[in-house]
């Protein structure tokens, strides 16, 4: 029974990844979503990435963590940028859920609330890309490109 469930899960992950790759190949754009309660910061991130990647990226600010989760489960997101603030349970829940259900979406934590505790928690959730505000976009963009490249190579 357990084996069947795991197998189903792997199939779902495979389907989502395949959908993302098909989309990138056919449409030529990366779909990036931003989850950040600070709307101004979120818009700056969106604009910065959009400027840097141009038509290669479709960058959106998610209305909520739940909307982002639904988009990820549909396979509509290639890269998710999340700011898990200490009082935002939804953002943390989103990261936890992505890892629990092995969602193949690339994840970048970009937070204004950098602490050793948060870094440690993110490491436990398997987050590989982590940046602390007020990082400059010129320093952040290479990291985003690298993640997209990884996704492409996969």
């Amino acid at each position: 029974m357990m084996r069947t469930e795991a197998s189903n899960e792997e199939n779902a992950v495979g389907r989502q990844r395949a959908a993302a790759l098909r989309h990138a190949i056919t449409m030529g754009t990366w779909r990036i979503q931003i989850v950040d309660k600070d709307r101004t910061a979120a818009q700056i991130t969106r604009r910065g990435i959009a400027c840097a990647l141009g038509s290669a990226a479709d960058v959106r600010v998610a209305l909520s963590a739940n909307d982002a989760w639904l988009a990820c489960t549909r396979g509509d997101v290639d890269l998710l940028i999340v700011d898990p603030t200490p009082n935002d349970v939804a953002a943390l829940g989103l990261i936890r859920a992505l890892r629990h259900y092995r969602n193949p979406v690339q994840l970048l934590v970009l937070t204004a609330y950098d602490t050793p505790g948060l870094r440690s928690a993110m490491r436990r959730f398997g987050v590989k890309s982590y940046a602390a505000k007020p990082i400059e976009l010129r320093d952040l963009l290479p990291s985003i490109r690298h993640q997209l490249q990884e996704l492409h190579d996969a």
Partner: protein, 471 residues
């Protein structure tokens, strides 16, 4: 007629003679009373300035001989603490020897005197009956002690205060067949009452002095205990205050990060569309640089209160001190400060965060330099302190200067965040140092004398508890 008149005159002369004799006797009595009053007055004055029971007792037995002529010996007894035995503490004639045993209350002249309500005159059979109450041993003892024993007449009086009986006076008479008389009683009673008041006051005074000494001792112990408690609580209080300030600083830093991120990168986006040779471009660059500067200040402030998670490791404090002195060597030379190192080669290694301890030493050494603007000596000393019943094995590092010293009113605030006496100081150096040392399970002690210098002693347990502390 003449005969009758002559008889009348003779009768009158006889009556006159009798009256004159009576008058002479009264004069004698008055003179005696006057002399006794003088004795009582002198005794009173002497008792007023007598400060201890022994002095009072000896004064009283001496005065009793003058007060009542014909007295062979005057004895003064005091009741013991149990209220069962009377102890002879003063005698008018021979000095007291250890052969005189205590007298039980209620029997014998002294025992009767103790229980009697007032002074009593004992003559004849009444005295003999009371003397018979003494055992043959006691009687022999008194014969050996007093030259005229047994007495042919005696006066006894209790020593009483308002609340208790203190002892008794025994006057033994009979010299030249002199017998005491009833009119002697008021004088004995007065002497006994004065004695009781004086003894009571001396006893109370001694008790008061003893209580006062106890109070002083208790206050001293309390002050010592309070000082020890303050000493132990001070680092914890400072640490807690620092943690609170750190939490506030980190919280403010976090809240600033989002607007700073937005402002900084808005300029970045603008930069993409402005030509490098545009006239206003330099101002954009300035704005970016200054926002970058704010970002660095925020990061430094946050890290300052939340020391980086340096790894714990075996740490040689001697090496740390040598390195720190080397770091400030130029500074020391320019300020004409001589360094004296007395580093113990037997110092054990600490399991500590070396970078943080280096920061502590650096803070204290730089403070010492600031305290010696005209030069001086900086003595750095380390030594191991062996474990005792109260403390575990400790390492002691002392940094002493010969500078201006710290005023006593500043000493208690040295480790408080933002407390500084320097015009350009931040007031964080020693606060951070104390915090770091406390995190290592140790403490910093300061001893300072204005005009002579200060000694900062850092005590660190060899077995650091830092691994169990949240860093």
């Amino acid at each position: 007629m003449n005969n009758a008149a002559a008889r009348q005159i003779a009768d009158l002369e006889a009556r006159l003679l009798v009256l004159e004799q009576q008058l002479a006797r009264r004069d004698d009595l008055l003179a005696t009373a006057d002399a006794r009053l003088n004795v009582i007055t002198a005794a009173c004055a002497a008792l007023l300035i007598s400060r201890d029971v022994d002095t009072i007792a000896h004064l009283v037995v001496r005065e009793a001989l003058q007060l009542l002529p014909g007295t062979n010996s005057a004895l003064l007894y005091m009741i013991d603490q149990d209220g069962q035995q009377l102890q002879l503490i003063a005698s008018s004639t021979p000095p007291i020897t250890s052969s005189v045993s205590n007298r039980p209350v209620g029997s014998g002249p002294a025992g009767r005197a103790f229980l009697s309500p007032r002074a009593m005159l004992l003559n004849g059979p009444e005295l003999e009956l009371i003397l018979d109450e003494l055992s043959p041993e006691q009687d022999a003892e008194m014969s050996a002690f007093l030259p005229h024993w047994p007495p042919s007449t005696a006066l006894i009086a209790p020593l009483r205060s308002a609340t208790r009986r203190l002892g008794a006076i025994l006057l033994c008479g009979g010299t030249n067949a002199h017998l005491y008389r009833p009119h002697d009683l008021p004088f004995v009673q007065v002497l006994a009452d004065l004695t009781a008041i004086a003894i009571e006051e001396a006893t109370e005074r001694a008790r008061s002095q003893s209580l006062q000494a106890d109070l002083v001792r208790t206050r001293s112990l309390h002050a010592e205990a309070q000082a020890r408690l303050d000493c132990r609580q001070a680092p914890a209080a400072t640490s807690a205050k620092l943690a609170a300030v750190g939490e506030l600083a980190a919280s403010v830093a976090h809240e600033i990060n989002n607007p700073l991120y937005a402002a900084r990168n808005s300029l970045y986006l603008l930069e993409q569309d402005i030509a490098t040779d545009a006239p206003l471009r330099p101002f954009l660059d300035i704005a970016q640089q200054e926002l970058g500067r704010i970002a660095r200040i925020i990061t430094r402030m946050r890290d300052f209160y939340r020391p980086s998670r340096a790894e714990l490791g075996p740490t040689d404090v001697n090496t740390l001190l040598r390195e720190t002195i080397e770091l400030v060597q130029t500074h020391l030379r320019h300020n004409n400060i001589q360094v004296v190192s007395q580093l113990s080669p037997e110092l054990p290694l600490l399991n500590a965060q070396a970078d943080q301890l280096r920061q502590v030493f650096l803070n204290i050494i730089l403070n010492a330099c600031d305290a010696m603007p005209n030069g001086g000596a900086l003595t750095v000393d380390t030594r191991p302190v062996l474990a005792s019943a109260e403390n575990s094995a400790t390492l002691q590092a002392s940094i002493a200067d010969t500078g201006v010293g710290i005023a006593p009113e500043h000493l208690h605030h040295l480790f408080e965040p933002f407390y500084t006496t320097k015009a350009s100081g931040t007031g964080l150096g020693l606060a951070i140092s104390a915090h770091i040392v406390t995190q290592h399970g140790g403490r910093i002690e300061v001893d300072s004398c204005v005009g002579q210098g200060s000694i900062f002693t850092i005590l660190l347990p060899v077995e650091s508890p830092i691994s169990s502390v949240e860093k």
